[in-house]
Subunit: 509 residues, 2 copies
Amino acid sequence: MNRVALVFLAALVPICAHATPPDKLRIQVERYRATHEKEIVGRLAELVSLRSVEADPAGLTATAERIGGWLAARGFTVTQLSAGPGTAPLVFGSFDTRGAKRTVVFYAHYDGQPVTLSQWSADPFAPVMRSGSLGSGEHEIDWRSAPTPFSPEWRLFGRATGDDKAAIVAFLAAFDALKAAGRKPSVNIRVAWEGEEEAGSPHLAAILTAHRALFPADLWLIGDGPVHQSRKPLVDFGARGMMGVEATIYGPLRALHDGHYGNWVPNPAAMAARLVAELRDDDGRILIPGFLDDVRPVTSAERQAIAALPPVEDALRTEFAIGRSEGTEGLPASLMRPALNIRGIRAGQVGVAATNSIPTEAIVAIDFRLVPDQTPERVRARLEEFLATRGWTVVGEEPDRATRLAHPRIVRLEWDTGYPALRSDMSTPAARAVIATASAAASQPVAVLPMMGGSVPIYLIKDILGATVIGLPIANHDDNQHAANENLRLQNLWDGVGVYAAMMGELRW
Amino acid sequence: MNRVALVFLAALVPICAHATPPDKLRIQVERYRATHEKEIVGRLAELVSLRSVEADPAGLTATAERIGGWLAARGFTVTQLSAGPGTAPLVFGSFDTRGAKRTVVFYAHYDGQPVTLSQWSADPFAPVMRSGSLGSGEHEIDWRSAPTPFSPEWRLFGRATGDDKAAIVAFLAAFDALKAAGRKPSVNIRVAWEGEEEAGSPHLAAILTAHRALFPADLWLIGDGPVHQSRKPLVDFGARGMMGVEATIYGPLRALHDGHYGNWVPNPAAMAARLVAELRDDDGRILIPGFLDDVRPVTSAERQAIAALPPVEDALRTEFAIGRSEGTEGLPASLMRPALNIRGIRAGQVGVAATNSIPTEAIVAIDFRLVPDQTPERVRARLEEFLATRGWTVVGEEPDRATRLAHPRIVRLEWDTGYPALRSDMSTPAARAVIATASAAASQPVAVLPMMGGSVPIYLIKDILGATVIGLPIANHDDNQHAANENLRLQNLWDGVGVYAAMMGELRW
């Protein structure tokens, strides 16, 4: 769907100026940012106010139009790549640099996770600035009339602030800073801003395949996920894959008095609990036989990278107020394993609404996090085989009365499409150049993570395009992404502007 | 709180007439009922429209006033026995019969279970008549303008229709029928209509103790619970006790992205599932060590009574569309064991609202059904001891940050007061008289159940007053009591009128 395709060649002219030494650029970008803080935050607030969540197709469309317009205004050729009506387009932008040897794609996603309004302290689409994280003694700030520079500890609250609209706004500000500094990019720039990432990127493969010719890229930089919990800037070399499944377990056709039937009519809430307990142990280890057969071993280089990360476990336990953690190997090593997360369980009622009855069904929302070389197909097969050995009849649709009567244990599984993980080689020239350039931009060695715990469907980029994929997240680790009261710490936005400017202006290999 | 205390002596006169043979009364009552169906259903509809649920204290007060008024209008001395402001009173009524040797208390409760409006097909407090149960091809009926006799298969839908307002309305109609027949009661009549039964009868002990002098009763007849699933009228000799507990299991202080933290931050939904799986097995057997130590063995007379009940298991499995049942001993025998029911589980979100995050807490609503000679205190102690051996720190209040950080597994338990079970001797003269009189009223031998699976706090009556307690339920077994779309089948109401009239007019021992 090539709805917008404009090139503002005139905009190129001021960027094609003379080169300056690397440390000079860092200072120039900081100066630009310091004098444009209100404008940058304003753009993020504007973007967050657009309701780009799966439940609001119009919000997704409006967001794609807005960010495409921002690219076009900066001289990018902009195209909306869509898989068809009712889907959220990938906003593709292209900006060539005369004489550049390499082409780099900057990936981010403009859609956010669903919101449960009751859990938010304010409207998730009416961004609010606060002086710190919630519960820290923070206060609300009228940033529009506040003097600059803003405190770097302020946070903007709203859905998708950190995941992943910050990366879009940081990219735009970095591009503006480069232009203001009269710097010519060191690479050909491509932008791929997706609108269906939080829905599992169901159409990304089709889009990349159909538009393969648009992406002759050497390198994709993925602006998703948080930086290191130590607040160090981070480069990562992959992400876990994921696959969601919702399991519905059936009890009696109607809720029954649990005095008159408890001990005789099967209780689906208890059945759901047993099912979950049989799937994972108390340390998060998955108990499905053969589930780990496909797991690629961690290399010694990856192990060394993990060992070199600053320890954060004690600080995180305190931050989260948890009296234990699962497993003993520490956080980054534990993320090298597949995970089985319980996102939600619902059966009957609790609290004042609870009645003494046997519920009709129980629902368990699960997501698997996959690691190389697991595939969604094999994960699905392994779970369904396991359930069968445990006496479950697996169905795909709501079972009718006859089906319910015919089988002692019925579970309906509704699977997401899912996608596999990707872990890139950390020793390639491109990888080394990214680490060095990011470290220079941060004036410190960045943290290097072999694989993010979170998921983005970057395997597609490798599989379909053959490109190298490296993660360049900017959001704070405590941004509440995927939960209520998501927020972005301003210093992280500023760091993001710096590192994106370096990747556009100084990356060479 | 003696707010109403009126005696209408004049109303006694027409009842003190000559005696008629037993079978004659049955026919007289049937004739009365047949010519008063609309009036009786109207009284039930009026009573159901009063919002007598725990969440609506004004509704409870209004209901107590209304039913007290109905008794007073029939010549009863009426007193509201209350434990104090903000509590729902027990409506006590007294009607003496000159020369009667025995005093019988008719117990029912006028409060209903909480409602979850979204689950109801119509307003639970705006009763609707339908031609049958939901999903049976039923249609709605404008019973107020329909001709009588009504179809006995019609059902009135609304909260507390079956549990337990039908018993109140049946009692009143039976009394009216007796009076219309010019029959003198065979016993002194007392009425005890409670308003806090569904809340666990927290003040019943205090009320009975404070007003012991009002209750010199030989026998209490409990009009709560359903009749046998075969639709046979039923006499039961006790009820299981109960005790509710809500368990809250704590995860991280805020919801966390389960990609970045899954496998390391403990997932409270998974912890809750494991806890439940450790408490009960797949057949409902409670796994808490020592939990069964206090259980009184079933006698051979009780075993024989259970064996004599018509088998209903196959029909119920079909009715409920369940492909198995817990245990192998059959429904009535399984109810002689204690039960641990999961009323609800709630953690995170499911469906379209689900996010890929680790929830902050999980809530499990549990009720225990107790059997003689278990006590709530011992049940509580056994569960808490067991949790401690499984590594749980049990707290009674919301734990603060320091507490959460200090303990690996924290569960907050909020206990209801609870009460023990009661199983009465089936061989006493009063017991034999009730069985014989109920069988005569039904023109068939009634089903005899040693103990109901459901709970009413009848142990108090035995403990405090020393009275014999026998159950005389009237509601249909498929009345959805404690669930949405509760309903009463009219034939059950008519049977109730008949059996109550017999108990007032012919019971002697």
